[in-house]
């Protein structure tokens, strides 16, 4: 299937990725160079890395899958679930992250609150990043297997096909390890920017060909049910739209709690802005990222919509097809098959579709040899950028917030630089272990992701109060976080999505309420967790002794000087950019309502 030209493109890319690391190696002299890119990254580079670090496999494959399943309403994950939070973190929160000179998000918590709040955040974050990068690796190795990328070279060399999974895992781990060890965060950021352009270059022609084939957006509208092509249609009730969630749960759960919790507090993305070369660049980083982010639905969601809109066809040669048995899929999307090769059906007898294959099958369907190599390279690039984002965030939090804080406080900078490199090695080794765990114990991974969701849900309440209410205390923040997590777990244990079985889907205590969909349940879990954390933090703060005001200068809004915007051109001013981004997002929502 793949020919010399495809392999050449892939190999050239890998050489470049490692080459960038090799060139940057001589600039890494101190731990600040390694962990924070020497705080020297221009705003547009940091902005694209900010976007790309989050652009893992989950996004490219997952958003295509959601596009096929939910339609253009998937764009809510961008226009409601990302842009407002990105604007907020740039305009309002970056002055504290960057201005406090904290080297990580947990370190900001140490400065603002106390040691225990930092410890809680640092440890849970470190564990989470390792598992996410493991899950990302696992997904990539699985995809390589399904797409048969390495089948023919393995056959030629006489190696068993079962080794493809191990080979894919090891090669991706080694490449990411190589370039991070060499150039640290700078290397990760540079590669993320390259990956950003590569992903655009790989997917733009796909969307162009696909749209041309189905007669453009009007053609899609004519073929598909209106519920696929409108993002706000039927949002007044959870039962009248494809997402299965009503507008309030969507805007509060996704648009406020989850999205602000991720974009405004997750060190994985914030680290990119902390590496910027000035306060203004740091503030502009998420705002610059917001522009491509707003357009990404067209690149990653449309392939899914096109895949489902095409007439059902013979899928021979595409992924997920075994032999020439007639398929019962839709468009380019095959049915999910059980071990016996029979399509899996739900309780109503409808065939379950393997939506995750929407985007990969689009690539195989439209791309001839040559550009197919480019498309697959883009897919691999997206996996690696996600993985590298996790690894660089992990090695920083480990070294500064765990190792330097609790294990070895007084070592030389050289020692911490060495520790960072070691952390990169064992971080990646643990990710590989997590990837193997995912292959064997699917349930454990599901449960872990659930626990992470409980831990993450209340975070934004803590940061919001910490930054904008000087009376918030360390005890308040700590108890607030814990009770928010408990509230999330309780809510999950007491509710169930429609048709779910009590267990990992919820209802493991008792079933008090049934949500119309898993998404609605997730959003409401987040809303409950956030509200609990918010209220408990306020109450406990009022009951405990306040911090001295002079300790909080530069950490809290009312005690910090506003960053000046004098001498900046209009397009360098965060507030101007913010207004432009919000207006453009509103416009997109209106056009695709």
């Amino acid at each position: 299937m793949l020919r010399t030209i495809d392999w050449t493109i892939m190999i050239v890319y890998f050489v470049f990725v490692l080459g960038i690391g090799a060139v940057l190696k001589r600039y890494v002299k101190t731990s600040t160079d390694f962990f924070l890119a020497g705080r020297s990254i221009p705003a547009w580079v940091a902005g694209l890395a900010f976007l790309s670090a989050n652009l893992g496999a989950q996004e490219v494959i997952g958003m295509g899958a959601s596009g096929a399943k939910y339609g253009i309403a998937t764009s809510h994950f961008y226009w409601i679930g990302a842009i407002p939070a990105m604007v907020f973190v740039g305009v309002f929160m970056m002055p504290f992250y960057y201005g406090s000179r904290a080297r990580s998000v947990p370190e900001y918590l140490r400065l603002r609150f106390d040691e225990k709040t930092r410890g809680l955040n640092a440890v849970s974050f470190a564990v989470m990043t390792l598992f996410s990068s493991g899950i990302s690796m696992y997904a990539m190795a699985k995809l390589i297997q399904i797409l048969h990328i390495f089948d023919s070279p393995f056959a030629r060399m006489g190696l068993p096909p079962s080794w493809i999974f191990h080979f894919s895992l090891v090669i991706s781990a080694v490449v990411v390890l190589g370039y991070i060890l060499l150039g640290g965060l700078t290397s990760a950021i540079y590669n993320e920017v390259v990956q950003f352009f590569l992903i655009v270059a790989g997917f733009l022609p796909l969307v162009w060909l696909g749209l041309k084939n189905v007669g453009g957006w009007t053609g899609l509208k004519a073929t598909l049910d209106p519920s696929y092509t409108h993002s706000w249609l039927g949002m007044q009730s959870a039962h009248t739209n494809r997402l299965g969630v009503e507008w309030f749960g969507l805007t509060m759960g996704l648009g406020f709690v989850l999205s602000f919790g991720y974009w405004c507090t997750d060190f994985l993305v914030i680290q990119r802005a902390m590496a910027a070369n000035s306060m203004n660049s740091a503030r502009c980083t998420p705002l610059i990222a917001a522009f491509p982010k707003m357009l990404f639905p067209f690149l990653v969601i449309l392939p899914g919509l096109i895949a489902i809109a095409l007439p059902s066809q013979n899928l021979t040669g595409l992924a997920g097809i075994h032999g020439s048995a007639p398929t019962q899929g839709m468009g380019l999307i095959p049915a999910k098959l059980d071990a016996a090769g029979q399509p899996i059906r739900d309780r109503d007898g409808a065939v379950l579709l393997d939506y995750d294959l929407a985007t990969p099958n689009m690539l195989l369907h439209y791309f001839p040899t040559g550009i197919l190599g480019l498309g697959l390279t883009a897919l691999l690039a997206s996996f690696m950028s996600g993985m590298a984002g996790n690894v660089t965030a992990f090695n920083t939090v480990w070294t500064y917030d765990i190792y330097q804080s609790y294990i070895n406080k007084t070592a030389s900078d050289e020692h911490y630089l060495w520790m960072g490199r070691m952390a990169t090695i064992f971080g990646i080794a643990l990710s590989v272990a997590a990837a193997y765990m995912a292959t064997r114990f699917n349930n454990i991974m599901d449960m872990l992701q659930l626990v992470f969701a409980f831990v993450n849900a209340p975070l934004f309440a803590t940061f919001l109060l910490g930054m904008f209410w000087k009376r918030t205390t360390g005890h308040g923040a700590f108890t607030g976080l814990l009770s928010g997590t408990v509230a999330a777990a309780l809510h999950h244990g007491l509710t169930l999505p429609q048709g779910g079985i009590p267990g990992v889907k919820g209802g493991w205590l008792a079933v008090m309420h049934v949500y119309p969909s898993e998404m609605a349940q997730n959003f409401w879990t987040a809303i409950y967790a956030w509200t609990t954390c918010f209220l408990v933090t306020i109450i406990v703060s009022l009951l405990t002794r306040a911090h001295e005001e002079k300790e909080l200068v530069g950490l809290v809004y009312s005690l910090t000087e506003r960053p000046t915007q004098h001498g900046l051109r209009w397009y360098q001013r965060p507030v101007v950019l913010a207004v432009v981004m919000l207006a453009a997002t509103a416009l997109l929502n209106i056009v695709f309502r």
Partner: protein, 65 residues
């Protein structure tokens, strides 16, 4: 930070563009049935080459954005 990021991007895209153009010019037209009869390798190769050249030019001059 030492290396201007636009240079590696420019090189990479120029190489990819060149490879796709060369392959597009030499390949059997029958393979373009799947891309709706469009020689997508040639066309997209030109786009990538132009983008790469612009990046190289900006990087060489050190234009600040």
């Amino acid at each position: 930070m030492g290396l201007d990021i636009r240079l590696p991007i420019g090189f990479l895209f120029a190489i990819f563009g060149g490879l796709l153009i060369a392959y597009g010019a030499l390949s059997d037209p029958a393979i373009y049935q799947r891309s709706l009869g469009i020689n997508i390798n040639l066309e997209w190769g030109i786009v990538m080459l132009v983008f790469g050249a612009i990046m190289l030019l900006l990087g060489r001059r050190g234009t600040k954005i």
